[in-house]
Symmetry: C2
Subunit: 244 residues, 2 copies
């Protein structure tokens, strides 16, 4: 099942920065130390420090914060090709937790390895910075989602965003994608109750827009869904600036 081909991270970064063979090799070297993690056990826990970063090779992860009253807010999901805990390794502090949603494979990256790779291949730093910046832009978009959109639009936007992200690594299209999330995950990410998530999903399904069922998201009418969600399919493509 495992690929020998270029990693997904390579694939993603190459879509935005033309990396040389030397740079590509440095990038691949970072991903040698593969580890497997099982569902449920947190990779990094809120408040821990001195952690490694990871490059996700397969499986889904979510990063979240838990409140004293037990409710949690999922900040973002990580999919194959994504960095995980990049900030915590650079700053040696972590302000939220990471939980595998499926069994995952990830390459562990020490701060020293990362810095060495940057020294060898400086443009790599730019590319990684771009990736981190894209992640931050998604958190901001997530913020707008929570603050200013109704539950149905919020859901539509979220499903479309995941679709675009997955398409970047060849795991999705305008037809749909495989999605291991439960409705509880959606609830914790979108600031809704699980019951209401179910209601919204039913409504979207019955409107012929999108179907979320048994681990699969199917876009029944991609264009109408994009219109409902005011979704800009290009907002993740912060292309241009880095192409020089």
């Amino acid at each position: 099942m495992d690929t020998i081909k270029p990693s997904l991270l390579t694939r993603k970064l190459s879509a935005f920065v033309a990396l040389s063979a030397h740079e590509l090799a440095a990038l691949e070297r970072l991903q040698l130390r593969r580890r497997t993690f099982v569902v449920g056990r947190d990779l990094v826990h809120q408040g821990q420090s001195k952690q490694a970063a990871y490059i996700l090779a397969s499986g889904w992860v979510c990063s979240y914060k838990t409140q004293p009253d037990g409710t949690r807010q999922i900040v973002d999901f990580q999919i194959p090709g994504d960095f995980l805990g990049l900030r915590s390794v650079l700053l040696r502090t972590s302000d939220h937790s990471f939980e595998p949603i499926t069994e995952i494979q990830a390459a562990e990256v020490q701060a020293a390895d990362l810095l060495e790779a940057f020294a060898t291949a400086p443009r790599l730093a730019t590319a990684v910075l771009w990736a981190a910046s894209r992640d931050e832009a998604m958190v901001v978009e997530h913020l707008v989602n929570l603050g200013r959109r109704d539950a149905d639009v919020r859901m539509a936007h979220f499903l479309l965003e995941m679709g675009s992200r997955l398409a970047l690594v060849g795991m999705g299209s305008q037809e749909g994608y495989d999605c291991p999330l439960t409705q509880y995950h959606l609830a914790d990410a979108l600031g809704l109750s699980a019951v209401h998530v179910n209601r919204v999903l039913r409504q979207l399904r019955e409107s012929g827009l999108v179907t979320f069922r048994s681990g699969r998201v199917s876009f029944d009418n991609y264009n109408h869904l994009v219109k409902l969600a005011d979704f800009d399919p290009d907002y993740l493509d912060l292309t241009g600036p880095l192409l020089k």
Copy 2:
């Protein structure tokens, strides 16, 4: 009215990283090119690129995103001593707008100046990275606020957070602080309607917790407010890791 003393940014960073005289000088040099901006005219507009960054010397700014339907979501507020548009200058892209809330004074910083300062005083880069990271942590906390807290708790948390931030630059205490925001600003930041903001403020005031009136936030019962909001007064103090 203007201070000759060390800038507020210096003051803030010094609370977390012990900077040498050489580093302090480099930091001050960044802040020579002062400019004044008036209320209402955006500093950086959504989608623009090739912008300068700013270090805010006086006044308040908000960063926000506007949606096609006209509603807006305020992502964060910047107060004296804060960076503004740091990411857009490094990546030459801007995904949201900045609007002065009061008349402001800010120092314009070109990407080249910043990089030169980093080269001269390497630890400065760490300090600035720390500041950027703290800003990102606040956005995440903001996300949790919107997703998982009721309007009253959300408001309480927000007022306390601004208080802590202002205290770091000597502009606030547990007594309260001067606050130029209108209830519309609060609404756009907290994902509420202006009418509901008013209701919530009244409730908090009548509960004897906090009073928001005529440009002033007064903590009537700081401890109870902290308890209501589940506010961790230390979460902005990402101290420790950088002190080595």
